[in-house]
């Protein structure tokens, strides 16, 4: 093969890869629901900032943060995600400290700043699944919540009510004893 043809082939390949830009966002697992680490920028800005260095996962003391392969499209390959039912965020805020690009913002580990700055998602209760709402006193989600009476409060029979300051850490979803879970975090980028 002549050098000229080789270079042409390479350039052609590059041009073809330009065409399906939507393909970059195409997800192989459309039902996949995930959270970004606490303090992350909104999804599109997050992808522009994240350099896929993996440091957030490396400081995560709870091994909460995992990395996409190609489940979520090529653009988010090697970006961090959290599936709260598997491992939920304990809001230690170390990932924001170590993030070099500010894709995960640095947020002080204080209840006030966390409540005002962190929006990973918001919990939602499925009352037809929830034990407390079905008359069997449970209250596990409330016990698991790092911000009790701020993010979630319980009423009669420990029935959970999610409040507006829920940051979406997912500890309630992680701890729900129902299968499937009766409380889920709806990610911020879905809402």
């Amino acid at each position: 093969m002549k050098r000229r043809h080789f270079i042409k082939a390479i350039a052609g390949g590059a041009l073809i890869s330009l065409l399906p830009t939507t393909g970059m966002a195409a997800r192989n697992q459309p039902g996949l629901r995930y959270l970004r680490p606490p303090g992350s920028l909104p999804e599109s800005e997050f992808l522009q900032r994240c350099i896929h260095c993996g440091k957030c996962g490396e400081v995560c003391p709870n091994r909460t943060i995992k990395y996409f392969q190609y489940q979520n499209g090529l653009a988010s390959m090697d970006t961090p995600y959290i599936i709260p039912r598997e491992k939920a965020c304990i809001l230690c805020m170390k990932c924001g400290e170590v993030c070099p690009t500010g894709a995960i913002r640095r947020i002080e580990r204080k209840a006030r700043t966390i409540i005002s700055e962190v929006r990973m998602g918001k919990a939602r209760v499925d009352r037809s699944l929830c034990l407390s709402w079905q008359g069997k006193t449970c209250g596990v989600c409330y016990r698991a919540c790092p911000l009790p009476d701020i993010a979630i409060r319980v009423g009669r029979l420990e029935q959970p009510h999610v409040l507006k300051d829920c940051v979406g850490c997912g500890l309630c979803e992680r701890s729900c004893i129902q299968m499937p879970q009766a409380i889920r975090i709806i990610p911020a980028h879905e809402g």
Binding site: F6, A11, M77, P100
Partner: protein, 337 residues
């Protein structure tokens, strides 16, 4: 004339530069071992943070014990103190100093078209080093270089055994095309795509995945493909023809101050330097160029110590055949008679 020759070959003065290549290997191995060690330290930290030594499985407990023994002299609280060194050569923090690969900055800026200054500044030291020393990252730090060089040794061995090994030459400007295409594609897709095809970033990440996450990922497959590319098509082909980081470092180091230069007076035209140069450069004809990564393998192999580092913004033009070589002697005789 012949007396001079025998004088220089009989009494060999100590030539410390010759050992620079060994030092480079030590550095490469240390960097690589750090990349392996750090994920293990991360695991150890998570065990410490979980306060559950008694509940660890036997292999986890062994890891805990080994890491505790390794780090005890340096830290008091492993869960926080070990955060002093985090990350990879792509982007890492060393005792509070954050360092990033210039390619990460280029990729991030082109993806978002915004300058996030705290991040841009993290590439300052690497850029400064590159401007002065050229592509030293490629030769001295890059964890992929270690494997690519071992891969090249394997290629030479296979060649010796009789397996046909590709030694094609392609156009080295191709990597600048890759860099440009990467910038454009990063802008269009809004994601830093270099991270997926840049070997040092891939290696650091894949080691971390293998040790502390779900196991090797897609990047490992990509890296093995680059190894095969090097082995079967061209020598060190990825670094020379494809690597976008190599392209960026070459451009930054174009007018580097420290460069290797041939001392024509002591060169004997043996061409060992050309044979050893994995980047396919031509030290014998004074052609180093911006691609040279200052690996100093040619200095180590030169039998007459004719190669040395000099401070200069440019390479010298071809100085003619080496004065200890046959060609020069013939020319001298020709002009003399």
């Amino acid at each position: 004339m012949s007396a001079e020759v025998s004088a220089t070959t009989d009494i060999k003065p100590a030539y410390p530069l010759r050992h620079l290549n060994k030092l480079r290997w030590v550095v490469l191995v240390i960097v690589f071992l750090m990349l392996v060690l750090l994920p293990f330290l991360h695991l150890y930290q998570t065990y410490v943070a979980a306060h559950a030594y008694d509940l660890l499985s036997a292999p986890e407990r062994r890891l805990y014990d080994v890491m505790e023994w390794l780090t005890r002299p340096f830290v008091t609280d492993p869960a926080t103190d070990l955060n002093a060194i985090k990350g990879t050569t792509w982007s890492g923090s060393l005792f509070g100093v954050k360092l990033s690969d210039p390619l990460a900055v280029v990729g991030q800026v082109s993806a978002g078209l915004d300058w996030y200054w705290p991040f841009v500044m993290t590439a300052l030291i690497p850029v400064a080093v590159t401007v002065v020393f050229g592509r030293v990252f490629c030769g001295w730090i890059c964890p992929a270089t270690l494997i690519y060089e071992l891969n090249d040794n394997l290629a030479s061995w296979l060649r010796k055994v009789g397996v046909p090994i590709g030694r094609r030459r392609l156009d080295r400007r191709m990597k600048y095309l890759v860099l440009a295409a990467g910038i454009v594609l990063s802008y269009i897709t809004g994601a830093v795509l270099f991270a997926a095809i840049y070997p040092p970033a891939v290696i650091g990440r894949e080691i971390y995945y293998a040790v502390a996450q779900q196991g090797f990922g897609v990047g490992a497959v990509f890296f093995i493909l680059t190894l095969l590319f090097d082995l079967m098509l061209t020598r060190r082909g990825f670094c020379r023809y494809v690597c976008p980081g190599g392209a960026l470092y070459s451009l930054l180091g174009r007018f580097r101050l420290f460069r290797i230069r041939r001392k024509v007076e002591t060169c004997n035209d043996c061409a060992k330097c050309n044979a050893i140069c994995q980047f396919g450069l031509d030290p014998l004809h004074d052609d180093f160029g911006q691609e040279c990564n200052n690996c100093s393998a040619c200095i180590a192999v030169c039998p007459t110590d004719a190669l040395k580092f000099t401070v200069s913004m440019r390479d010298v033009p071809f100085q003619g055949p080496g004065h200890l070589g046959r060609l020069y002697r013939k020319q001298a005789q020709g002009s003399g008679t």
